[in-house]
Structures are given as structure tokens and as C-alpha cells.
């Protein structure tokens, strides 16, 4: 399983390195989203600083849709999914590899967006440990849930429009938990951010487990 995950994840990242979709399209899109939020709030730094965690994770969430759609668009072209199935790869390995590749792209985006909110919204970071751990757990949760539902939608003609409808309600706990954890980490609330981290870790664990166990059925039925 782990070997297959490395093979699939490596392939997806290699495709990304060649196509540069994340760096030339998704990252600029994410920055654009932040800028538009800034314009919408009339560059009011007090509001923007308070809303920064929510805006950040909303932007990450939107970008995760693009990353997941891209990940499965690769497999839809020219019978690549049949090639993947015919290779005899462990479906759990396919899941872990694709989720890891999406997660790595999201990490890069989060670094860019993190710099973006620091510069654009004047955000300062108070609790780096909580910030990084909650970001890691939220990223794994988004990537695993996205990969799972990406595979569900993969075989459908309406997958591009269906995927956000499937994923957005499911990842609402990630948006809530990550925003609250980051508000605590940024010193914007006195609430206990570590409790929200527990929610994020639980969400990630559930979806990684569910993906590993169910992907064989999804790969066959897609």
C-alpha cells in the first residue's frame, strides 16, 4: 500500500511540476480571492484582521476544490483511469498517494496565503504550534475528504459541478474548526484553540480511514 502510494503520489506531483497549474493558476486565484475580500471590506484593517482566519480557510477550501478536480481530471483523460486500474495498484495506495499529492499542493498554497494575510491584512501570529498543527490536520482532512469525493464524482459527466456540492457541506467542520483554532492561535479570541484541533484531527483520521477502506469499491464503480 505504502509503495503504491509513493508511486501514485510521485506521479501526480510530477504531472504538477510539468504542468505548473498550482503555481500559475491556483496560487494566483487564491491571492486574488484574498484581494477581493480586502476590497469587499473596504480595506478596513480591523475587520480584515478579525476575519483573516475565516478568509484564509475559505480561500484554501476553494483552492482545494481546484486541486481535487485537477487530480481526477488527470485520470479522466484518454483512459488513464483504466490504466491505473489495470496496473493492479492497491486502491488504498491510490487513495493515499492522490490525497498526499493534493495535501502537498495545499501546503504550498497555505504558505503563500499565510504570507498574503500577513501582508494584506496585517495579521500577526501568536501561537505558532497551534497554528501549524491545526493547519496540518485541516489540510489532511481537506485532502482526504476531497480525494474520496473526487473519486465518487470521477465517473460522472457532471463531475465538475457536482464535486463542490458534494465536498463543501462535508468539509464544513474543517472550515469551522480551522478558523476557530487559527483565531485562538492569532490571539483574536480567548477560546481554547486546542479543542478545535481535536476536532480537526478527528475529522482527518475518520476520512483517511474511510478512504483507505472504501477506495477499492469507488475505483471499481467510478
Amino acid at each position: 500500500m505504502w509503495r503504491d502510494a509513493v508511486v501514485v503520489g510521485g506521479k501526480d506531483l510530477r504531472v504538477e511540476m510539468h504542468s505548473r497549474v498550482t503555481t500559475t493558476q491556483v496560487a494566483p486565484y487564491a491571492i486574488l480571492v484574498l484581494l477581493l475580500f480586502g476590497f469587499a471590506f473596504d480595506q478596513n484593517h480591523a475587520i480584515l484582521s478579525q476575519a483573516a482566519p475565516g478568509l484564509f480557510w475559505m480561500a484554501v477550501l476553494l483552492c482545494s476544490m481546484l486541486a481535487v478536480q485537477r487530480s481526477f481530471a488527470l485520470e479522466a483523460a484518454d483512459g488513464a483511469r483504466d490504466g491505473l486500474r489495470l496496473s493492479g495498484l492497491d486502491p488504498a495506495g491510490i487513495f493515499l498517494g492522490k490525497a498526499a499529492a493534493v495535501a502537498l499542493q495545499l501546503v504550498i498554497l497555505e504558505v503563500v496565503l499565510g504570507l498574503g494575510i500577513a501582508v494584506l491584512f496585517g495579521t500577526t501570529f501568536h501561537n505558532p504550534a497551534l497554528l501549524v498543527l491545526s493547519a496540518a490536520a485541516a489540510t489532511v482532512g481537506l485532502a482526504s475528504a476531497g480525494t474520496l469525493y473526487g473519486m465518487v464524482a470521477a465517473g460522472l459527466r457532471v463531475r465538475e459541478t457536482l464535486l463542490p456540492l458534494l465536498i463543501l457541506p462535508v468539509v464544513a467542520p474543517v472550515l469551522l474548526g480551522a478558523t476557530q483554532a487559527w483565531m485562538a492561535a492569532l490571539g483574536l479570541t480567548t477560546a481554547d484553540g486546542w479543542r478545535w484541533l481535536t476536532l480537526l484531527v478527528s475529522f482527518a483520521a475518520i476520512y483517511v480511514t474511510f478512504g483507505v477502506l472504501s477506495f477499492s469499491v469507488l475505483v471499481e464503480e467510478a
Partner: protein
Amino acid sequence: MDQVIHFRSAVALAGRFPVLAGADLDVARGEIVLLQGANGAGKTSLLRACAGLLRVAAGEAWVLGENLVADPRAVRRRIGLFGHSTALYEDLNAVDNVRFAVRASGGAVSAVVPAMERLGLTGRLTATSVGALSAGQRRRVALAVLLARDPELWLLDEPHAGLDAEHRDLLDVLVEEAVGRGATVVLASHEADRARRLAGRIVTVAGGVVSAQAPSLSPVQPEATAHVA
């Protein structure tokens, strides 16, 4: 005789439509079998069922000793399917595509370069993104995948399509060499003359069933075929 494919009354569905409606097929190790039939007869479905990509819903389906009805995944690593689509990634270059396919199927990466050289994929062609290659060149990359994987069962769906004359001839040589190494080949082709020269037996598919079989020593005549009940 060592059976590589044994289908009895195999039924496979596409949605609710039976693309295989009780197909019977036996293929022995080392055979080259040509599937012929009109468009929509079920040739591609039969090949995909043999590859475990199309689930057999009823009947018997054994390939390389594995029961595909119980576990269609069991046999896939030992099968190569060269079909209408190339299963290549456009953003990867040719050598990365072949290397990934070989790694994914657990094959030896050392076979990649010799296979590509055999298909004339050398120099700048190896480093060119597949998306920038011509249709024929893409077919050659897909063929290099098949050659590098060197599976026990070659399933070829219109294998000559898109190849120039030189590489059509090369494909025939590769098929004969594979059989010489102990592989078995089932191909579907509308290029009747070329495919009949290659095949030892012709199986006619119609309406999702095998309707007739005959040796391929001479062009098939309807009255010369042994009709399957």
C-alpha cells in the same frame, strides 16, 4: 492444454444493457486469437471483461487461473491492454509515462529504455510531453508500456490503428516475439488481412456472444466456420 481464458455463458452489463450476453470463449496459452465482428458486436467488451475492467455479472470467467466473477482485480497485473485510448498522462513526457506504468504494475524499470528504443522512441521524443506528440507517436508510447510490462496476456483492441506501415509491421513482430516468450494474445481488428496472418484462430463475435470460430489459415468463409451453439 493450459487454458488462459475460459468464459462460459459470460454476461456483462453496461448500465442495464447486456454487452456480453452469454459469451463462451476458450484460449490456450501461446495462442494468437483474432476477434472479429461488426461495430458494437461486443469485441471490446469481451477484451475488457478479460482484463477484469468490465465486471462479469453472470456465468463463468476465468483468466490465467483467476476467477474474475469473484475478484476482477486478481489478474490485472498480469495483463496488458492496448486499446483505443492510450492511458497516458499528457503533461508527463514519454519516458516518465512508461516508467510510471511499469512501476505501478510492479515491473522492472530496467525494461523501460530498451522498450522505448525498440519502438523508435529515442532522443528528444523521450523528453517530449505526450500532449505534444502525434497520435501515432502516442500509440508507440502506449505500445512501449505494453512491451516494458511484458504481461502474460496481451489484449489488443485495434492495435494497428494510428500506426504507420513500419510500426504496424513492428507490432506484428512484437506480438510474435511475445508469444515466443510464452505470452498469449487476443486481438480485435478490422484490418482483416494483417490480423488473419498473425492469428492462429478467428473468433466471430456478434450480439455479445461468440457466434463462430475457425482456423485463420485462409480468409474466413461463412460456410467454413464452426458455429457455436
